[in-house]
Each structure stands twice: as structure tokens, then as C-alpha cells.
């Protein structure tokens, strides 16, 4: 049980800056997901918390104790690795007990803890097997068990589900969430998968090129992305991002084809005449049966997913690409033209230079 806090944490390899100053406090019992594309420094950040990478600048503390110069074993953390990193020659039981044995815990206590973890993770039958006799999902559980028996101040997960097949991944995702909430242990979870991030995290830290793009709850990130990057990264299918211009009156944006979309009152903010990036989520575009439509979409590809339909097409003179997500099944044909509308509340404006939210 502990709070984990990062203050101005930086990492450089020689001249290369990998992490550009991360500030973040993870509350006791919270699950923070660090999410970003590959190479954004998210694993490096996690490994710095774990003590596997040195901290170039800044301070990391766990449970109020600065851990910058402590060995991983002294930081009171447990880590679940991407490839599980189980000891191949040890049985499941020994894998889980190893860390406790090194800490000179009594045999009885080790046994009790391993049995308890095995119960939680339903590993009871497998305790005498070696990792190679286990399936991917079972190995994953053992790796979790190894973390649980330690009863640490914090769990660190490094893309733990990326080696599992899609179905198992969803199942384990739910289990991890449940487990984390039951145990109430502060956790940091690294992933590149935005669905995993959205479903698991109490809060998300979006990292891009070593810079924190946004820190917030999943809903905050979805409803008010702080930058073009977050807007495009969170949500599936990803947000439509269009080059647009705020009209002279400041109460609407003009799309490439000349169509205009009215802005909600608070949205224009004296940006009259300015070039912006307009973001609209595919699920917020609707077919305008009557009344004014914003854009007329020419259908190119239709993806029927059952629960909903994804329509890819283009609109306007310069054929700007657009994706629309509609609930249910829609039988649309190639070349068909759809009039679309969107509520002003669902428009996101970003600075076309910096990408920051306006």
C-alpha cells in the first residue's frame, strides 16, 4: 500500500533524451496506465520505477521513500514482464516462492502465501509443473502469482498481455482489473493498446516521444483530448482529423470543400480566420435525414461489424477522407452519397502548428 510519485523524471542516453520530465503522482491503490506508441519511452519509464534503469534526473519515491539509488529488490515492488520471464527450470511453486526464499521467509509463511496466490489465480493444479508445460495464459497467471506472493507496495506491469491471443487477452484484462481492485495495490501498467489502457486504467498517462501528452481519466481523454496526438490515439476507429479554418465571424468552421459546421458557443474563443485542425470522432457523425447537412460523404468502403457499421469515404472537392461509425447494420453501396451532420459539442479544435487543444 503506497503512493508512487515521479518528480521531473528525465532519462538521457548520452545525448539522446528519452524521457523529457515526467511529473505524476499515483495514489494509493490506483492503477495508472502508461500508454503510447512503441518507442515512446513508456517501458523505459516503468523500468526506471522498477530500478532496472538509472534515473538521469528527477526523483521517484514509493511510499514516501525516495528510491533513486535503491536496487529493484529494495524498492518493494513486483514486476510482471512481457514474456513472463519465468525461471524455466523451476516448478510453478518454486517460481512463485523464489523471491520469498531469497528474503529468508519461513517455509510455512512461503507455503501459505503461494497457496493463497494459487487459489486466487486458480493455479492449484499446476503447482508442480514447469513453465514449458503451461499454456500462454497459464504462464501469465504464474507471472502474476509471482508478483502477488511478494505483497509489494506497487505492481509494475510491462505489456503483460501482448503475447496472448485476442480472446485470452480480453479475459485476462478483466481478471487483472478485478485482481487489482480486490488487492488494492498501487499499480503502473504499460501498454501500447489503447483499448487495454481505456478499460484498465483509473487514469492514463499518454506518452509520445518521451513527452507527457496528457494525464487524466479515460473519459477525460476521450471527451477532451489535450492534443491532436491524444485525439488520434485514443478511440477506435480513430478520430477524423481535418484541416479547417475558423470563419471570420468565429461561430463556425469551414471544411476543405466549403461546407460549414457551426461551433458551440464556448468553442470559437476568438480564433476567427485561423487555420485549425478539426477533430470529429467517427461515432459522432450522424446521417442527416432532414435539415442542413454538414458534408456529403461519398461511400467507398463499408465494413459490417454486426453491432455497428464503419463507412469509409470522402467528401468535398479535394476528396478529404472521412470515417463514420453507425450503430447497427446499414446496407450501403459504393458511390452512394450520405448527408452527414454532427453536434457542435462533439467538435474538437486543435492548433494546426503545435497540435494543442484550442
Amino acid at each position: 500500500m503506497a503512493e508512487v510519485s515521479l518528480r521531473e523524471v528525465r532519462k538521457t542516453y548520452g545525448d539522446v533524451k528519452v524521457i523529457h520530465g515526467v511529473d505524476c503522482t499515483i495514489a494509493d491503490g490506483e492503477l495508472l496506465v502508461i500508454v503510447g506508441p512503441s518507442g515512446c519511452g513508456k517501458s523505459t519509464l516503468l523500468r526506471m520505477i522498477a530500478g532496472l534503469e538509472a534515473i538521469t534526473e528527477g526523483e521517484i519515491s514509493i511510499g514516501g521513500r525516495v528510491v533513486n539509488d535503491l536496487e529493484p529488490a529494495e524498492r518493494d515492488i513486483a514486476m510482471v514482464f512481457q514474456n513472463y520471464a519465468l525461471y524455466p527450470h523451476m516448478t510453478v511453486y518454486k517460481n512463485m516462492a523464489y523471491g520469498l526464499k531469497i528474503r529468508r521467509m519461513s517455509k510455512g509463511e512461503i507455503d501459505a502465501r503461494v497457496k493463497r496466490a494459487a487459489d486466487i489465480l486458480e493455479l492449484g493444479e499446476l503447482l508442480e509443473r514447469t513453465p514449458r508445460q503451461l499454456s500462454g495464459g497459464q504462464r501469465q497467471r504464474v507471472a502474476m502469482g509471482r508478483a502477488i506472493v511478494r505483497e509489494p507496495s506497487a505492481f509494475l506491469f510491462d505489456e503483460p498481455l501482448s503475447n496472448l491471443d485476442a480472446k485470452l487477452r480480453v479475459q485476462m484484462r478483466v481478471e487483472i482489473k478485478k485482481l487489482q481492485e480486490d488487492l488494492g495495490i498501487t499499480s503502473v501498467y504499460v501498454t501500447h493498446d489503447q483499448v487495454e489502457a481505456m478499460t484498465l486504467g483509473h487514469r492514463l498517462l499518454v506518452l509520445n516521444g518521451g513527452v507527457v501528452e496528457q494525464l487524466g481519466t479515460p473519459i477525460e481523454l476521450y471527451e477532451r483530448p489535450a492534443s491532436v496526438f491524444v485525439a488520434g490515439f485514443i478511440g477506435s476507429p480513430s478520430m477524423n482529423l481535418l484541416a479547417a479554418r475558423v470563419v471570420a465571424e468565429g461561430n463556425a468552421v469551414e471544411l476543405p470543400g466549403g461546407d460549414r459546421l457551426p461551433l458551440a458557443n464556448g468553442n470559437s474563443g476568438g480564433q476567427a480566420g485561423r487555420q485549425v485542425i478539426l477533430g470529429v470522432r467517427p461515432e459522432h457523425l450522424e446521417i442527416a435525414d432532414q435539415g442542413p447537412s454538414a458534408a456529403r460523404l461519398t461511400v467507398e468502403v463499408v465494413e459490417l461489424l454486426g453491432a455497428d457499421t464503419l463507412v469509409h469515404g470522402h467528401f468535398g472537392n479535394d476528396r478529404t477522407d472521412l470515417t463514420v461509425r453507425m450503430g447497427g447494420i446499414h446496407d450501403l453501396k459504393h458511390g452512394e452519397v450520405l448527408p452527414l451532420k454532427v453536434s457542435p459539442d462533439h467538435l474538437h479544435l486543435f492548433d494546426s502548428g503545435s497540435g494543442a487543444r484550442l
Binding site: 530500478g51 514482464f81 520471464a85 525461471y87 524455466p88 527450470h89 523464489y98 531469497i102
Partner: protein, 282 residues
């Protein structure tokens, strides 16, 4: 497996049988020669079936030796050879494991320099450095000792290189998991790396035991006392120079005895040996 027709199977078997015959026949003759009297050998034709002196010849070889070679009993020679082979095999494995561990898992100044120094010595066979090595061993007063016999042969680039390659295939995350679990470097080495290297160690042991057992040039240089003679040297000394009569049956008994330990090592460790060569356990 490729499916074979009847006549192909026959050909395959013929070739294999021929191969076995080529390999086994000399050994069989050596065995026959070690069971007959001296006169049976010297006078043609060569006997084709074992004679009645099996126990006499082997007993004489083991306990008394052949007179020309200052009569060192073969039992003592075998003991010397065994000590040499075992010390070389275990010594090499221990040193190579530790040096490979250092090179792969630790970042110390001149690390690559040391690695390349070790690697370059691969290209220098024992014969090239044998005179300076002799000088050093003689200077340390190690002539006619087990230490002098074995220590210079223990440093091994080949085995270090082999273990280095193996350690490189062990995922880094295993070392990191051990670190998070609180295992120090030596603990990691003993609890994780060593058990994982088990089959490699076994394969290497077989190779090195035979290498040590068959050493000729080095023991020839550093041992001059009869009590330190190894069996490979001993066989050579048994063959009488000039006009003296060589006691061939006893010499043959000695060669049969000399063959025995390597054969036993291969037979008993064959399963692990093959596993170590073909499989990486991860």
C-alpha cells in the same frame, strides 16, 4: 523420416555394417591380442579368437606394468590420467562459466578487450605456446606435479566462447526478474544460469574429459618421474626400443584399459551429451 524401400534398407544396412566393421575390427584384434601369450602374437598367423591369458595379461598390466617402462603399474597410470582428465574438465568448465558470466552480464572497463583477448587465444594451439608455458611451469617448480600437469591446460577460450553464446540466448528479462526477486549476481548465477546450462555442461564435460585423457605432448614434457606417467605416455614407453622384445599382449591389455574410461563417459553421458548439442532449454 524419409520412407525407404526394401532394397534401399538393405543397402543402408550394408553400408552401416561395413562402417562398424572398419571401426570395430582393429579394436577386436587389440582385444584378442591382449588375451593370448606373447608367442601367439609374434608368430603368424594372427589368432582370431581370444586366448586363455585374459586375466594374466590384464593383471600383469594393472599391477606390475611392463618392465621396460620402469615398471609403472597401469593402475597408477590410469589414476594419473583420470586425475588429469577430471581436473582439466572440471577446471575448464568452472573457469569458462565464470569468465563467460563476467563478459556477458557485467559492464567493466576493457570488457571487449578482454573478450577479444580470450577469443584470439582460440587461434593459438597449445603447441605454439608450449615452450614459454614449460618455462613458467618449471620456474614455479610444478614439474612432476598434478598442478603442473593440469593448470596450463585449464584456461580455455573455446568453452568460454560456448558459454558466452549460450548466456546471450538467455532472455535479459530472466536476469531482471531475478534482480526484482532480490537475487544478487552470484545467486542468479547459481540458481538460474547454472541449472539452465546443465546440458551444455554435460556435453562439454564429455568433450573435455576425452581431451584431457588423450593429452600427449604436454604430459610428455612436464612429467619425468615414472610415478607421474599418464597412460597415453605409458603405452608409448612400453614399446621396447631396438632389439628388445616388446610384451605385446600386456601392451594391448593396456590400450584396452586406456580406452575404457572415455568409452564409459560417453556411454553414460550420451543422453545428456546429445541433448546439450541439439537442444537449448529455455
Amino acid at each position: 523420416m524419409v520412407e525407404r524401400r526394401g532394397w534401399l534398407t538393405a543397402v543402408t544396412h550394408l553400408v552401416l555394417i561395413a562402417g562398424i566393421a572398419v571401426l570395430a575390427l582393429p579394436i577386436y584384434f587389440a582385444f584378442v591380442a591382449s588375451t593370448v601369450g606373447l608367442r601367439d602374437i609374434v608368430e603368424p598367423p594372427l589368432p582370431l579368437v581370444p586366448g586363455p591369458f585374459l586375466f594374466d595379461n590384464y593383471g600383469e598390466a594393472l599391477l606390475r606394468g611392463v618392465t621396460q617402462a620402469a615398471a609403472t603399474p597401469v593402475a597408477l597410470m590410469m589414476f594419473n590420467s583420470l586425475v588429469m582428465a577430471l581436473v582439466i574438465a572440471f577446471g575448464k568448465i568452472a573457469i569458462s562459466l565464470l569468465s563467460a558470466f563476467a563478459i556477458v552480464y557485467f559492464r567493466f572497463p576493457l570488457r571487449m578487450f578482454f573478450f577479444w583477448t580470450i577469443f584470439v587465444t582460440l587461434m593459438l594451439p597449445v603447441e605454439v605456446r608450449i615452450l614459454p608455458t614449460y618455462e613458467v611451469v618449471a620456474g614455479l617448480g610444478l614439474l612432476n606435479t598434478y598442478a603442473g600437469l593440469t593448470i596450463p591446460l585449464i584456461a580455455s577460450a573455446t568453452a568460454t566462447f560456448l558459454f558466452r553464446q549460450f548466456f546471450l540466448t538467455v532472455p535479459d528479462e530472466l536476469a531482471e526478474a531475478a534482480r526484482v526477486d532480490g537475487a544478487g549476481p552470484l545467486r542468479f548465477f547459481a540458481d538460474i544460469l547454472l541449472p539452465l546450462s546443465r546440458t551444455n555442461i554435460a556435453a562439454l564435460f564429455v568433450i573435455l574429459f576425452i581431451y584431457g585423457w588423450n593429452q600427449y605432448l604436454w604430459p610428455l614434457l612436464v612429467t619425468t618421474e615414472a610415478s607421474m606417467t599418464t597412460i597415453v605416455i605409458g603405452i608409448n614407453q612400453m614399446i621396447a626400443p631396438g632389439e628388445d622384445q616388446t610384451n605385446w599382449p600386456v601392451v594391448m591389455a593396456t590400450t584396452m584399459l586406456a580406452m575404457l574410461p572415455p568409452v564409459l563417459v560417453v556411454v553414460f553421458m550420451q543422453r545428456l551429451f546429445v541433448k546439450g548439442l541439439v537442444e537449448t532449454e529455455k
